[in-house]
């Protein structure tokens, strides 16, 4: 039997957001664009996030991708922190987007008017050289945010600069989807302070390689508790990190293979807080630390 759909805000989401909405969004009339908070129309003070997941190349779209994009949109919408443009094409990743005809687009979202990117594309995302340069400059020179999830680690294999931006590269998932123990390396960081010191987690844990020395590891897998695996090449197994890239803030986490993972409130809160940090709404110390 189908459950009845709950139209409007669910109690669960409301409870989550009471916890998550921070003081700067609590003023009257400052609720989500949905107007649930009431009050008169207001000037646009919210940030703008591009939720970008170009999945046209690679081994098909993950079943979690659309749910992840929708969850990211909802977190911004209901909290009033940011508005989201969901895009699975990459034309928007440009200061002057083009139509499919090659003619200039008639306005609308572009790198010139978004404040951060949530990225869940994979493999060889089709960006031309100009778009790549503009994307790197968006973070590096303009100080905009870049938050990336799961498959993002597999993206742009042929573009070295992207590895520098993101802080690592994909090197398989030795156990496929498995249960593991995650160690919280930084309970002071906004996106990980709600996690306990260690916690069990089920996911497809991505192994990173080419790991950047300037990244500040937040979460890592306790490899000592995993079954032996010949594909394990990195006993330092980061699952979430924060870093800077030029003037911009970058966050990556491996969490999020399955749609259900995005219903985990701790995971949703992690990405929401990571986006707020990348937007400059919160601050944290991301000084790199030596591998433990």
């Amino acid at each position: 039997m189908m459950r009845r759909v709950r139209f409007g805000t669910t109690v669960a989401a409301a409870a989550l957001l009471v916890v998550m909405a921070s003081a700067e969004q609590a003023a009257p009339g400052q609720g989500g664009r949905g107007g649930r908070a009431g009050g008169p129309p207001r000037v646009r003070t919210r940030k703008v996030v591009l939720a970008w997941a170009d999945t046209r190349n690679g081994i098909a779209q993950h079943d979690s991708t659309s749910h992840a994009l929708a969850v990211i949109e909802r977190l911004g919408y209901e909290s009033g922190v940011y508005d989201t443009y969901i895009r699975t094409d990459s034309n928007i990743v440009s200061s002057k987007p083009l139509m499919t005809t090659g003619q200039p687009a008639s306005g609308g979202p572009s790198l010139a008017n978004v404040d951060a990117i949530f990225f869940m594309g994979h493999r060889d995302v089709p960006l031309d050289a100009q778009q790549r340069a503009e994307l790197a400059a968006f973070v590096h020179d303009e100080g905009k945010g870049f938050v990336a999830a799961h498959v993002a680690l597999t993206a742009f294999e042929g573009w070295p600069e992207f590895g520098d931006l993101l802080g690592g590269r994909y090197d398989d998932h030795p156990w496929n989807t498995a249960s593991g123990t995650v160690i919280n390396d930084d309970p002071s960081f906004p996106a990980t302070k709600h996690f306990p010191a260690t916690f069990p987690f089920v996911d497809e844990f991505y192994q990173a390689k080419g790991f950047s020395r300037d990244a500040h590891v937040l979460l890592r897998l306790d490899v000592s508790k995993m079954p032996p695996n010949p594909q394990l090449r990195n006993t330092d197994f980061p699952l979430a990190w924060a870093k800077t890239y030029g003037k911009g803030r970058v966050f990556y986490s491996s969490f999020g293979h399955a749609p259900e993972t995005w219903d985990n409130r701790n995971v949703a809160q992690m990405y929401f807080e990571a986006i707020k940090w990348a937007l400059g709404l919160t601050d944290a110390n991301v000084t790199p630390r030596a591998v433990r």
Binding site: R3, R6, I59, A60, D63, R74, T88, A258
Partner: protein, 284 residues
């Protein structure tokens, strides 16, 4: 091992994890029978991206997810609009040519369409899209700016049932107008009162025929300014929503949904959700 990101072993392992109760929050209760697949398709590359579109597709994804009625793929590109294998020639990806694990129109049971203006589809893609509805009996539910799409493609007008002809009313095209329900028995209209004032960018439609579309709601012509410069209709017939068939398939279109806030209105949510269920043959 094949270096695939998504492998069947992952799927099996995940399913096992869910069955063992290890999934963090199994919000989606699977209904009896296989879950339906909806493609939320909003290719906006060649036109104005309404602020509402991302919120609309995210809202419909949530309604399907939470109810268990359907799973949604959100796409703002048109790659999946084909019944043919999807391959790509360039790049360094691991999945090239025939090995590509694509999901094309054959995977989907209905499309929710919120595109705009001219969308870049090949002739084969256009033929496949029409056949998806007409021959395969799949669903097609379209919102608001969908009526501005594909003006250069006559068959799309036949599929959808009509065309956009301006939004003549109010400042910047946004106005209050009274929606009158014609058919409360239609699933998408069941929650609507007989008459309700809606604040929206109300469209004037053209090239439709009440003999070919089943109008389920319309604007009360006395609630809008019939002397507004862009009012072209002389019959005072301003449909707000209709259902129709196209070959074996079911089609629903509504003008409502210009603003993101519209998609928080329980009436609009239920209208599109129930329209999708109807188009998916989950209701009659």
């Amino acid at each position: 091992m094949r270096p695939a990101i998504l492998t069947w072993s992952c799927v099996v392992a995940l399913t096992a994890a869910v069955l063992l109760g290890q999934a963090p929050h199994p919000a989606a209760q699977a209904p009896a029978g296989p879950k339906k697949h909806v493609l939320a398709w909003a290719d906006v590359r060649n036109g104005y991206q309404h602020d509402a579109i991302s919120h609309a597709v995210a809202t419909l994804e949530r309604l399907g997810y939470e109810s268990g009625a359907y799973d949604t793929f959100i796409r703002t590109d048109s790659q999946l609009i084909t019944k043919h294998p999807i391959t790509f020639a360039s790049g360094t990806g691991i999945a090239t040519g025939a090995d590509f694990l694509y999901r094309n129109l054959n995977y989907f049971d209905a499309i929710f369409f919120f595109g705009v203006r001219e969308i870049d589809l090949t002739p084969q893609q256009r033929a496949d899209l029409l056949s998806f509805v007409r021959d395969d009996g799949k669903g097609f539910v379209a919102a608001h700016s969908a009526a501005t799409a594909f003006f250069s493609w006559p068959e799309f007008g036949d599929l959808l049932g009509g065309r956009f002809d301006e939004h003549p009313w109010g400042r910047d095209g946004i106005a209050d107008a009274t929606v009158v329900v014609d058919d409360h028995a239609f699933p998408a209209m069941r929650r609507f009162p007989d008459r309700v004032v809606m604040h929206d960018e109300h469209y004037q439609l053209k090239d439709f025929s009440r003999e070919r579309v089943h109008v389920v709601a319309h604007l009360d012509p006395s609630s809008v300014d019939l002397n507004a410069p862009l009012v072209h209709r002389t019959d005072r017939d301003f449909p707000v929503a209709w259902s129709k068939t196209y070959g074996k398939g079911r089609v629903f279109y509504s003008t409502l949904g210009h603003a993101a806030e519209s998609w928080d209105n329980p009436l609009i949510q239920s209208m599109y959700f129930e329209a999708l269920r109807w188009a998916l043959h989950l209701s009659e």
